[in-house]
Subunit: 455 residues, 2 copies
Amino acid sequence: MVVGPSEGDEDVSMAARSETNEEPVKVALLGCGTVGGAVARLLSEQADDLAARIGRPLEVVGIAIRRPNRQRDLPGIDPSLFTTDAEALVRRGDLDLVIEVIGGIEPARSLILTALENGASVVTANKALLAEDGPTLYEAADRAGVDLYYEAAVAGAIPIVRPLLESLAGDEITTVIGIVNGTTNFILDKMASAGSGFSETLAEAQELGYAEADPTADVEGFDAAAKAAILSSLAFHSRIALSDVHREGITEVSSSDIASAREMGCVVKLLAICELTDDPEARVSARVHPAMIPLGHPLASVGGAFNAVYVESRSAGQLMFYGPGAGGAPTASAVLGDVVTVARNRVRGAAGPGESSYAERAAATIGDVVTRYHVSLEVSDAVGVLETVAHCFAEHGVSLQTVRQAPVRDGSTEDARLVLVTHDAPDAALSATVEALRELPEVAQVASVMRVEGQ
Amino acid sequence: MVVGPSEGDEDVSMAARSETNEEPVKVALLGCGTVGGAVARLLSEQADDLAARIGRPLEVVGIAIRRPNRQRDLPGIDPSLFTTDAEALVRRGDLDLVIEVIGGIEPARSLILTALENGASVVTANKALLAEDGPTLYEAADRAGVDLYYEAAVAGAIPIVRPLLESLAGDEITTVIGIVNGTTNFILDKMASAGSGFSETLAEAQELGYAEADPTADVEGFDAAAKAAILSSLAFHSRIALSDVHREGITEVSSSDIASAREMGCVVKLLAICELTDDPEARVSARVHPAMIPLGHPLASVGGAFNAVYVESRSAGQLMFYGPGAGGAPTASAVLGDVVTVARNRVRGAAGPGESSYAERAAATIGDVVTRYHVSLEVSDAVGVLETVAHCFAEHGVSLQTVRQAPVRDGSTEDARLVLVTHDAPDAALSATVEALRELPEVAQVASVMRVEGQ
């Protein structure tokens, strides 16, 4: 299937080009689910525009699928292109470009490696694989002198890889904070607007199709952690693996946390935070956890299933990239953008910038990270309690920014609520403080503990 | 001045490279004002990182300046590099890369053309020149087979050129709406928060350094119009010139307009709007004017001197790019990003994607644009006035979405205020309606007329 303008459409100057220049760019598509189907549809519908932008038509020579009998609504796609033998497809040897939208580790990894070894460039949307084993793929692409592009793997349709890798290549990025998981952002939004708890909101999100039947990858932060590994590798020109990312999900977030955030002029978001530590080695801290951010922060108003990536750099200052983080069509848009660049590189006989990991920064552990905590305690309303609590913080070297005391809301006169916000301190000191607070007889309950970011 | 790691720093594998590979990338800088000074500083400070990202060191071989006696605080820059003969500098013949940050039409245009003809790639921040005469430059770069990059020309440090030209190359962009002028955004923000008029707010902005002594380019929309021409050319793969852009500034915006906007749940912003018309030819409408946008729109919360570009495309949906729109360091960040890409292209012997104008769409005139109007009238509070006003709209083929009547605020009992919002209609019909309304004896005053966008 040559999905480009026919020869009859070409003008005189085009006809004057040599015959080799008219060769189509040969593409294989691996996977034809939600994203793959959208990619196949756009390759067909946008054929003329793609050919104009690339300089040659694209020809889809095969589409690898798992279930040949599944009904597919793909007008314009020749059914003879479907094959269940993905391995044979990537071994053809005449491919310019392989698009991998199967997802997961295997067989995606083997197929991509085989494609690269056979001289094809690869466009992938596979965040799990890149976070798990990116360097193996980058090195294989580098050895073969071909491209490996993956814009769709981070924050769906939001153009973030080129900005980090190219637009900001002359700058020093210091912080990247992403809202990169639409499901958890939707749930936290709903909890805030309805005042409801996590479990009932998750059930509602599942009913509406915003959360999967098994929501673990989203609500436990695995999906966001994979994206944090990719973002921090890009931003800091280093290799940060999934295992380097500290991960906490949103299952422990309570309506009380969200109410406390509101009282502080904040909202609760699940953040993927990538930043350099302040020590002389400037290690990379990559972490995913729920946090309070002030309402005035650009990320605070990113609602529902939208994603956003906030970037701070020494020269550019504060930047933010916003858009849909998932879905067939948005992800396909990101894939097709890469397809055009990679195909253009093939036509020009060049490769794109490739991986940049020269800085070789080490990963920091969560205990070393400097952050702030919001702690809400239910304490007995007795003489000396505040002193005891304050002493507990001081003992661990943590200084307090604000302290607020109020009677507890249920009208009981014996207990009081103590809301404390710390100054910056090492995360290890902060969590040791919280552990010690739980042991104090004066503390009836640690009602809410959450990191405060973005200030 | 070789601003890269010295040979002694290189490891064994680097030393094994052939001598030609060790050649530095030769750079000339034209202009050393706010932006040029920041570029020179970063080229020196970031030399090691830039060399690692490019694969070879950069060598600044000359800096063209106008005023040799001006005091410059540029540690690390050899004073012998300064020259007042920019023409001789770009004619050297051994340059890889020329950075133009002089601004204005001449001599910038001649210098860029000479540089391109002599085989150097060019990075420029010159929005006025690109909007005025971009195609001449694009064609010269294409003929010479070199790069012409201009990320810094639109929306300062916000990466927007690569996203439009590359990330979204597989998608169809339908709308681009930008807040691309920080001065006017600052003034409109201040007018809204302080309830003050245009003139006094402009004076305040001038005092604070947010507006220039001659504010014409900003407040009359010339700066935004240049950016609209560049953005619409990029988004729609066509050549849209500055003269194709309809332009209205903010000097006529009154505190009454801003109050009316608030009553409607909107804010007033100076927008650069680039979109395709609905007719079969799908022409490009590029226009700059103040407009009301709903508070829920992603652009509504872009405050102060920040810029943002909102993009709608068929597959990706709604995207937004946010950041500082001006300033020496942010603009230098965008310039340096281009420098890295262009230098990398030189090292690889390839050129970037270049201009994409294959679609050859025509520009629409403002009269053909379909939009909505908000009209606020002071009318005599007499029988039949509403009917007369409604008839005037109907006569011009404009239908009304909402009509609201209230007594005027000063407590006078003889007049009433009539606030009307139209449905979509051709701009020509809407402005003819407003002209006719002004002639009606029942209409004491047309208090506010403004387009409503973003819904």
